[in-house]
Amino acid sequence: MSTTVEAMDKAMSVMTSAELASAQHSRETVGDFTAAEPRMVCRNVDVWYGNKQAIKNVSLDIGKNEVVSMIGPSGCGKSTFLRSLNRMNDTIVDCRVTGSIQLDGEEIYDKKLDPVPLRARVGMVFQKPNPFPKSIYENVAYGPRIHGLTNNKAELDELVEASLQKAGLWKEVKERLDQPGTGLSGGQQQRLCIARTIAVSPEVILMDEPCSALDPIATAIVEELIDELRQNYSIAIVTHSMQQAARVSQRTAYFHLGDLIEVGETNHIFTNPQHKLTEDYITGRFG
């Protein structure tokens, strides 16, 4: 992992002293952060909010048909990292991302790359369900409509139904597609948001603590859904629940204060953590 040192050298030449002070703490990652069939390849990613560094030199792959979960104590930067994967951080003033993030070999932070089609390929589900104040149907049809994915109403109907089916919501809402999406229960809202994301047929889905606002039953349904979605999509999920990470993901990455401490097969991480910090976290000594 010589890249860390190189990055440090590079960093020192261009960073201010304040930035340097926080950059010096970056640690080396334990374990193999590459994937067998990678879709997204991240190398030496730094994320800054103004003078504060939120992500320090993180390298991680997200492979085809796998669920990668990111765990760690709150404020460790896992959500920040996730949001930088489809450039959602662009909406935050003062946020800078350096390093390399590639989707199928394309640099997503390339100046020429347009975030609009990127986000059509890399969808995102948020911590709090955020259905639009529109009908259930219009919520799902929103993405296909703006991108012009369907040619006529029948196709759109079909796509909406298919998406709701995949999200496991069809049976519950098929009778009331014209009612506002905000009237659904929390779990249903979150699945509606997932259906909304699927409707655009993204290649990668990012999920930012998708179950944190849900009750256990709704959580179980969403987790089942995630497992099914793995057949067609690459998924990165941030979670504060280790049990959830263990249940849904194939690989797990442990973040701590902006550093990626350890990454590996999920069952390895939970049964045999290599790093002291990972072990402390998993055994519940802090977090």
Partner: protein
Amino acid sequence: MHTWTLILLLLAVMALAYHLGMKRAITRVGGLKQINHLHSLPAYYGVYAALWAGIPALLLLGLWLGFQDHFITALVTAQLPPDLVAAQSAGQIDLILNDIKNLATGNIVSATVTPEIQAAATQFARFEELSTQAQWLAVLALALGGASFAWSRTEPQMRARNRVESVFLVIMVIFSSLAILTTLGIVLSVLFESLRFFELVSPLEFFFGTNWSPQIALRADQVGATGAFGAIPLFTGTLMVSLIAMVVAVPIGLMSAIYLSEYASRSVRAIAKPIIEVLAGIPTVVYGFFAALTVAPVIRELGAAVGLEVASESALAAGLVMGVMIIPFISSLADDVINAVPQALRDGSYALGATQSETIRLVVIPAALPGIVGGILLAVSRAIGETMIVVMAAGMAANLTANPLDSVTTVTVQIVTLLTGDQEFDSAKTLAAFALGLTLFVVTLALNVLALSIVRKYREQYE
């Protein structure tokens, strides 16, 4: 100016009462050394005495000033020779009384002065003098009486602070109830005069009649005997001017709010937003001047250039300028509601690959719609009630027309016209102004209540 002298004197009595009350408290407790045996600080005993001296006297003075005129007028009227009063309408008696008052105060009189009126005027002046003397005596006596009452009650055990505080609390309650009193005053005064108007002119004619010409009597036997009171042309005129204003203000206000809150850089926003809001601080009379002397001629010339006939006081000129006045109103309200739309909704849209304008048009605006509609309703209510611009630029002719290049008149213009000419207080013309005022008040009140409830519901939705 004698009233002001009396008030100053009263203040002096209060100051004296304060001083004596404080001293009395200290003496009664046995000097400064024993001061901690007083229930309250000595100053409170002073304030207690000052309040007793001031409040009853001031109340009496206020009542006296408010009703003195009524009493004297009634007295003088009662003593007028019966042949002068008989066979006169209420309006004419008012005119005579007006003359008497003017004569008594040395002003110019409208009619020739008959000996009866001269006598009544002398009597009026005498009554007034008497009343003033009595008023001085009564007010000062009450002030001194109040002070001495407080003086006699001052004991070390008296809970002076609590009493003073409860008086202050009562005063504050009265102050805050003034809002209700004002509304009540508006409703009662306007309603009362309107009812008298509707005794002369049927509400049916007023609300559904299409002919408005209160100045000219069309036929001798006509209702109200002064003119026609069909208010439909005023309503349509008001609506047309307001509509033109909204057509100008809503798109410009809304789009600039969107641009400034979603697109503009921080520095552009910091400069442009206050400059646009300057428009809200400009007095309406300035807009009226601008409309009448700059915009109207330009429109007329433009119309002439393309072969259209434009009235010199067109609805268009007034509406356009009113629209400019309302722009900052719409933009700052829209800015508020757009900023209240949670970032999570925008994020949800961006995460699906929507562009910024798609997010604004398809997510932010629909989400903010109730708030925006509420803001627009408030703006409409403001446009309907706006007076100076239309008085100066829209004209007096009550045309029932849909042509914005024509001259129209509005409810507010007619209120001003009817009440600023020379006329007696009780004529149908004057009362018509109050009926229009009532209509205006009810409509704007309804719009405001509706708009505020929509906006409040909208705020709760995102809290």
